[in-house]
Symmetry: C2
Subunit: 216 residues, 2 copies
């Protein structure tokens, strides 16, 4: 049995059979992302901005410059964070039944600043590990000035809803004879040839799987 | 010389050298997207929801069910639409200088419903063409009931700002001797093996480039 929505505003009303509210599903969608989009109000306008994100435990983390608008504003009022992965194009025999396969999550709540320097260091190391496992031990750690200039914020994942479509075409029975290819074109993120920094020529090019996790 | 921001709320204050306000740049980023994220206020909360999008001329288009919350709410107040393409992971020699290459656009304004049936039909055909050029002539066109149940909304692209990073590592000079690979891992969207609908076995599998445009 599916767990219930944690709040009225996370209740999926449109196609509720696509909704999921369990932590494992929400966390997996957050983990598959390198970036999220944040909706918030500031200066009389609603804004939607993209930023890098990662997860530690039951929180989504973001970072920014300590003096930036985003980091100042987000600790002062509720926001909504969205992550959406496009997994496939669903090509139907009618224009109407074209669709997309996707995994999305919407999280509501208020960010809290991670002020403790040790906790901030750990969160930023987890960010590097999210992109490139094992790398945080190989690169220069942040200086005190870099740490002071960086704001780390975290948002609990407990008020969240996921929505997933991951199946094939749903054509009307009367359309099945239409002479056009129908099905799903699965999509994923792929890497191109590595572009080493010019001062990096002395190094053997690492194998891609040892360098980064290709997230959806 | 770069054009100026069209409004105070589109003025990029953080790393302004990455900002672009010309229509061609904004349109190209919109065209490279299959989905956008929309920030809006409703019921005392700010929301961030993903939806499919496409461009016709100087407007971004979305669609939804005529009776959905999103379509009702968006014509009643201003929103912010964000599209972000992650183009690469920038791996530096210090944790601090890690970055991402991306193209993003943020658009402000209010959606207007496309009520004229002929205009709505054209907009929906353009949506199919956006995903799969040539396909709108091959599939069954929307019935009057399908058209009535579908709401098409458009948002002008004139209050928009793009932000782009598309270059290599920017390490501190003192870090260049650190023994770790540094550079950019370029990312793009790729398609997996086609998943034909079961009733589609009689058709020759089309070549991918003839079927869909792989957008970033």
């Amino acid at each position: 049995m599916k767990p219930d929505a944690p709040s009225p505003r996370t209740q999926i009303r449109r196609k509720p059979q696509r909704g999921h509210y369990d932590f494992a599903t929400v966390a997996a969608i957050v983990d598959a992302a390198q970036i999220c989009q944040i909706a918030f109000n500031e200066g009389g306008s609603v804004h939607c901005l993209p930023t890098a994100s990662w997860r530690v435990g039951d929180h989504l983390y973001i970072h920014g410059a300590s003096n930036s608008r985003l980091t100042r504003t987000l600790t002062g009022s509720d926001c909504s964070v969205c992550i959406a992965h496009l997994d496939g194009l669903v090509l139907a025999r009618s224009a109407f039944h074209h669709s997309m396969n996707f995994r999305s999550v919407v999280i509501y709540g208020r960010f809290v600043a991670v002020d403790d320097p040790e906790e901030k260091k750990k969160a930023l190391a987890a960010f590097v590990e999210h992109v490139s496992p094992g790398r945080s031990a190989l690169v220069r750690a942040p200086t005190p000035a870099e740490l002071a200039g960086t704001c780390v914020l975290r948002l609990p994942l407990d008020e969240a809803a996921a929505k997933i479509r991951h199946w094939g075409v749903e054509d009307d029975a009367g359309d099945l004879g239409i002479a056009v290819w129908a099905g799903v074109v699965p999509l994923h993120t792929a890497a191109g040839a590595l572009l080493p920094d010019e001062d990096c020529a002395a190094f053997t090019e690492p194998a891609l799987p040892d360098l980064v996790v290709l997230r959806a």
